[in-house]
């Protein structure tokens, strides 16, 4: 099976890799680039653990082929904190509100929540719940996740 050379941008860095056309973007991030923060929960677009931004759009990276990333720009959980290590307010609030337990769904939820707050800085609880409906968590029961997103949104609005 011949591989395809893919040149793309991940968290602002130019990267390239060789992808079998059957490999998903998630496979490529994890196996070729060592970015294992994006998780494979289901592989079928149901759980949201692999959420990334593709040219700014929230997508499930298990439903994108690696070869489709050619020339695009990808943001993953690894790019969420500042380069100096300062956490994004969402990350900080998830820790403060204990909005995680096993943590497997957390990277995907953080990436999805960041996309929400950029589009809608003041979402209602309903809007948060619908936006995150494609992010499944089997530990925390969602309530703390919603509170953490609301709290982070309030802080971000205050800072703006």
């Amino acid at each position: 099976m011949s591989k395809i050379h893919v040149t793309t941008t991940v968290n602002g860095d130019a990267v390239d890799f060789l992808a079998d056309p059957r490999e998903t973007l998630l496979d490529c991030l994890r196996d070729h680039l060592g970015l294992t923060g994006s998780k494979e929960g289901c592989g079928t677009g149901d759980c949201g653990a692999c959420s990334v931004r593709l040219d700014g759009v929230l997508v499930s990276s298990c439903l994108v082929l690696g070869v489709e990333a050619e020339g695009r720009s990808i943001e993953t959980i690894e790019g969420m904190a500042s380069p100096d290590g300062t956490l994004h307010p969402l990350q900080r609030k998830f820790i403060e509100h204990a909005a995680l337990q096993c943590g497997f769904c957390t990277p995907g939820i953080l990436v999805a929540a960041k996309a929400l707050l950029e589009e809608n800085p003041d979402p209602s609880e309903s809007e948060i719940r619908y936006w995150l409906a494609g992010n499944l968590c089997r530990c925390t029961g969602y309530d703390k996740i919603i509170r953490a997103v609301q709290d982070a949104a309030a802080e971000l609005r205050g800072a703006a």
Partner: protein, 298 residues
């Protein structure tokens, strides 16, 4: 699997027409990649349409109609205020497909070609009288969306044919459309029944109507008897009763884990009433309220 990323639909069609094995066109990929992953469909040739210029564009035509490229995502539809204002039912139908993440990729053309009888994106298109530009080995042709579904997982497209764009007619004055589905939860589910209504008024009286039902037959149904039940009325209670009766009579559902045939038949009538009222209200001039928030239908 060979991956192709042609730059024209004609080239895409040639690859498909010349292939001997299994081929799939790739737009949003939210069905194709799931099949690939499950091993249920492993294409020998996968033809990515997204490098074709214009495939991701939404264009308002000179006559007021809309052209939606084959790779336009559900999220992009919802982010186009003019389209939401003209065809809220089409947009809200597609908006019910999958999660936010799926919305970032899933397309109307893909929802149509996947061939699910329960596709939420399709009844709205059928009710709107939408058409598709189909490119194939014999050239380009226009097909009515209503003529494309041929059964579960099947379409009337010929080998090598690919949908290049979907066209919505000009909205015109005093028109409104709406779509709702029934699901047993509030989000992330597949329609038990779906219904789209598109109508036009003269004053308070309905002068044109198209009613489409999803998930109650092997393909989406355009129900002429439903239209007849409300055309010439002001959507009074008698008209709504006649509409519900016509919807129930047209429904030919199966029983499966999502619902029994009896339940689906009943819900077809309930939804037809409800959706018609929304479409009527929009046609009366409340179109500015736009499409409802995701899930508000429940």
């Amino acid at each position: 699997m060979r991956y192709h990323s042609p730059l024209t639909f004609e080239a895409a069609s040639r690859v498909a027409a010349g292939a001997s094995g299994v081929t799939r066109f790739l737009a949003g990929g939210t069905d194709v990649l799931v099949q690939l992953r499950a091993g249920s469909v492993t294409p020998d040739d996968l033809i990515d349409l997204k490098r074709i210029p214009g495939v991701g564009s939404i264009t308002r035509e000179g006559d007021g109609g809309w052209t939606i490229g084959a790779a336009v995502s559900g999220a992009a539809l919802g982010a186009t205020p003019g389209l939401v204002s003209d065809w809220p039912g089409v947009v809200e139908g597609m908006g019910l497909v999958g999660s936010t993440q799926v919305q970032g990729r899933a397309t109307l053309a893909g929802n149509l070609c996947n061939g699910s009888p329960a596709a939420d994106g399709v009844p709205g298109l059928v009710a709107a009288g939408a058409t598709a530009t189909v490119v194939g080995p014999e050239g380009r042709r226009r097909m009515a969306i209503a003529d494309i579904p041929a059964g579960p997982g099947r379409t009337a497209l010929q080998p090598g044919e690919v949908i290049a764009a979907i066209h919505l007619p000009a909205r015109g004055a005093q028109g409104g459309d709406a779509y709702e589905r029934f699901i047993p939860r509030t989000e992330m589910d597949i329609a038990v029944v779906g219904c789209a209504v598109n109508l036009r008024l003269d004053g308070d009286t309905i002068v044109e109507a198209r009613v489409a039902l999803g998930a109650v037959a092997p393909t989406v149904l355009l129900v002429e008897a439903c239209a007849q039940a409300i055309v010439g009325t002001r959507l009074d209670e008698a008209a709504l009763d006649a509409l519900a009766g016509a919807a129930r009579a047209a429904a030919k559902p199966i029983s499966d884990k999502r619902g029994t045939a009896e339940f689906r038949t009943h819900v077809a009538g309930v939804l037809a009433r409800r959706v018609a009222v929304t479409a009527y209200t929009r046609a009366k001039g409340s179109r500015a309220q736009g499409h409802r928030a995701k899930g508000a239908a429940q």
